[in-house]
């Protein structure tokens, strides 16, 4: 009967495609869930075992403690290691890292906005390509090369000092460097230097999402705002900024988390005071104090968790 139906021209029921592949294809069509499970299992296993698994192992370690006398890890549940995070030295490291990350993010946002605005609104054709290239170009060269180059630029006998001296403005630089906390003997050994390099390195990650968000703001909204009598400042505050905010927040996720986790820049440029990443490395690699290293690495996880929750409320993920 089936054969008959199939041969009848004009029938809407097509013949079964024979063979294993055809059967499989049919099975998947009938049970979409099967396909989903098959497609998702390998990556989920990867994510679950390699990523989440190691993360959980790390978290477990942070509830252990190190025996003060022998230096051996004691695998019994305790919160003592977390309490250690709150002692002066460690709290300093956390506060130092978080404030640096916050300041770098703020500065990147302020710097990136006009650049992104120009690139999104005014740059056309070749200029637009040039802008994209200009922003992306630094990302193509090695991170380490850039950091070492900055060390030379900011050195006491480097080009920045030289330019200030030639302009007879050496005293300005001196005055800046004599500021209590952020100053130092030269730019390359001060917090100010670390900050400048962080901003330079992470700026592209702020410009790109901001530009993407600005491009989605319809131009006529701004014109309408002006037509209705708003001053440029009011337009910026009530129209442009709220609409671009998700992009800025998305960018800030990058700059904030990248600064939070970086351990190379503060090692090469700055006053040798540790950041979280370096502390993890020192405690794990040098001291063999894995529990404290693990507790330290929980800090950025928690901070980023809170940060992402806040960013989500601000709609940052709509702009990614």
């Amino acid at each position: 009967m089936t054969v008959l139906t199939v041969d009848t021209p004009g029938s809407s029921i097509l013949p079964r495609r024979g063979g294993f592949a055809g059967a499989l294809s049919d099975a998947f069509w009938r049970h979409p869930l099967l396909l989903l499970i098959l497609m998702l299992t390998p990556p989920l296993l990867w994510l679950g075992i390699i990523y989440i698994g190691s993360l959980i192992a790390l978290l477990l370690q942070s509830f252990f403690s190190i025996d003060d006398f022998s230096g051996v890890v004691n695998p019994e549940f305790t919160l003592a290691t977390y309490a250690q995070l709150l002692n002066g030295t460690n709290l300093d490291i956390i506060l130092r890292t978080v404030s640096m990350a916050a300041l770098v993010t703020l500065a990147s946002a302020v710097l990136a906005f006009p650049i992104a605005y120009y690139a999104a609104r005014y740059a056309k054709g070749r200029w637009k390509a040039f802008f994209y290239l200009g922003v992306m170009l630094p990302l193509w060269s090695s991170y380490l090369v850039k950091v070492y180059a900055w060390k030379l630029i900011l050195a006491k006998e480097g080009i920045v000092t030289w330019v200030f001296a030639k302009l007879h403005l050496g005293f300005v630089l001196e005055a800046i460097l004599s500021l209590p906390v952020i100053g130092g003997n030269s730019l390359s050994v001060s917090y100010l230097g670390t900050f400048l390099v962080f901003v330079y390195i992470w700026l592209p990650y702020m410009i790109l999402p901001t530009q993407a968000a600005l491009e989605r703001v319809p131009a006529n909204l701004i014109e309408a705002s002006a037509d209705l009598g708003a001053s440029p400042r009011q337009t910026f505050r009530t129209v442009l900024l709220p609409l671009a905010l998700p992009g800025i927040v998305a960018g800030s996720i990058f700059t904030f988390s990248l600064t939070l986790g970086d351990y190379i820049i503060p090692q090469i440029i700055g006053s040798s005071r540790l950041f979280i990443g370096q502390a993890v490395y020192a405690q794990q690699g040098t001291a063999g104090n894995v529990p404290l290293a693990a507790a330290f690495s929980v800090v950025p996880i928690v901070i980023m968790g809170l940060y992402l929750a806040a960013a989500k409320r601000l709609g940052a993920f709509d702009a990614l």
Binding site: D68, P75, T89, V189, S272, L274, G285, A287
Partner: protein
């Protein structure tokens, strides 16, 4: 929970939970080579002429013994310990702050010195050094050693070598009329606390420090206080030899504890740099070639240990790294090291060097000492301004 942990933490397992194997008996007799040997070494320790043709002490060995040499370089002592814990290597060139940890962790095996004819040629001062010989058992053969000298800028010191480490520990006006504030450096590693302790040994004898690596609470506190004062003078601590070279050139640094390596490098570059052994003495490092407990190529490893003690190899390696050979015969007639090389790199100052070793709680000179992991966290605090 522990089982879960073990199954999850393959990467972390190398550290503490691994059950240690019992140390094997040393090899009784040598037989044919296994065709390969793998070595964990400091950068520049095992050269096969790839950087500079003149510096090659691997190719000949491979030809003679038929053992293919592969090298894994490590940057810190702790990295070396971690790699050896992971396993899969035959030899390691461990400094004194790693060697005892490896022995205590039973990661390395005793050496049968009868199988290494050149062992008798080794500097007598090193043959039974405490960083590789425990209870009369040798756990390796010495390779190279060197001091942490005081490097200084000859312009700033008006060609007069500083006589004391106080130029890096205490604020003062240097011979060029400017303060040393912001112009000195210190080593960015917790082992540097020993340098402070050594300075206190000479200047505060009432603290009763006998060994800068064995400090009780009071002595330790005094050393940290000295280092806190030093923090005010130091703009940046040095970590990487090349960054220190750069800081001397571009950052106006004029004095710091350093290795002969950097001194040689900058002198070759015509910088106005010299080095000296201050009156308090110096700390230093002495490296030992040690054999892994589960070595898969013990015969080749023994052949390498013998090879590494040849005067030619010792002299070449010492010249390359700015170190002192462990075999005195290497000091004469080596083209690369020259007859002056040993003296320049500190050969005659052996007795004044306090060699690096890991501070442990159960120390020998007093009842209880501050262990290394506290050195680590407290030195972080000192650098952080606490």
């Amino acid at each position: 929970m522990k089982y879960l942990l073990k199954s999850c933490t393959v990467a972390l397992a190398s550290l503490s939970f691994v059950t240690q194997t019992v140390a094997a008996e040393p090899l009784k007799a040598l037989s044919k080579g296994e065709g390969a040997v793998t070595i964990v070494a400091w950068a520049g320790y095992i050269e096969r002429g790839e950087t500079d043709k003149a510096y090659d002490w691997v190719s000949d060995f491979e030809k003679e013994s038929g053992c293919k040499v592969s090298v894994k370089t490590a940057a810190t002592s702790d990295e070396m310990v971690a790699l050896m814990n992971e396993g899969g290597f035959d030899l390691v060139t461990a400094s004194g702050d790693a060697s005892l940890r490896l022995i205590a962790g039973k990661r390395v095996q005793p050496i049968n010195t009868d199988l290494i004819p050149s062992f008798k040629q080794i500097d007598e001062r090193l043959q039974s050094a405490p960083w590789h010989t425990v209870k009369g058992v040798h756990y390796g053969v010495p390779y190279l050693w060197g001091p942490n000298v005081l490097m200084y800028n000859t312009d700033a010191f008006k060609d007069k070598a500083p006589t004391s480490w106080n130029v890096v520990f205490e604020e003062q006006t240097l011979p060029d009329g400017k303060s040393n504030k912001g112009r000195v450096q210190a080593y960015d590693g917790p082992i540097y606390i020993a340098d402070a302790a050594m300075y206190l040994m000479a200047h505060k004898p009432d603290l009763g420090i006998k060994d800068p690596y064995e400090l009780n609470e009071d002595q330790y506190k005094a050393a940290l206080d000295l280092l806190r004062g030093q923090r005010q003078l130091v703009s940046r601590y040095w970590h990487d030899a090349m960054i220190q070279v750069d800081d001397f050139k571009n950052e106006g640094v004029v004095a710091s504890g350093s290795w002969p390596f950097q001194v040689n490098l900058m002198q070759a570059d015509k910088q106005k740099i010299a080095s000296t052994f201050p009156e308090e003495g110096v700390t230093g490092w002495a490296d030992t070639t040690m054999l892994h407990a589960d070595s898969e190529h013990p015969n080749c490893a023994y052949m390498w240990m013998e090879h590494s003690l040849k005067p030619k190899v010792q002299g070449d390696a010492a010249a390359w790294f700015g170190a002192v050979p462990s075999v005195p015969a290497a000091c004469k007639g080596n083209e690369l090291l020259t007859d002056e090389g040993c003296k320049t790199n500190g050969y005659e100052h052996f007795d004044r060097i306090k060699f690096w070793k890991t501070p442990v709680a159960k120390c020998t000179s007093q009842s209880e000492c501050v262990p290394y992991h506290r050195w680590v966290s407290d030195y972080i605090g000192v650098i952080g301004g606490r």
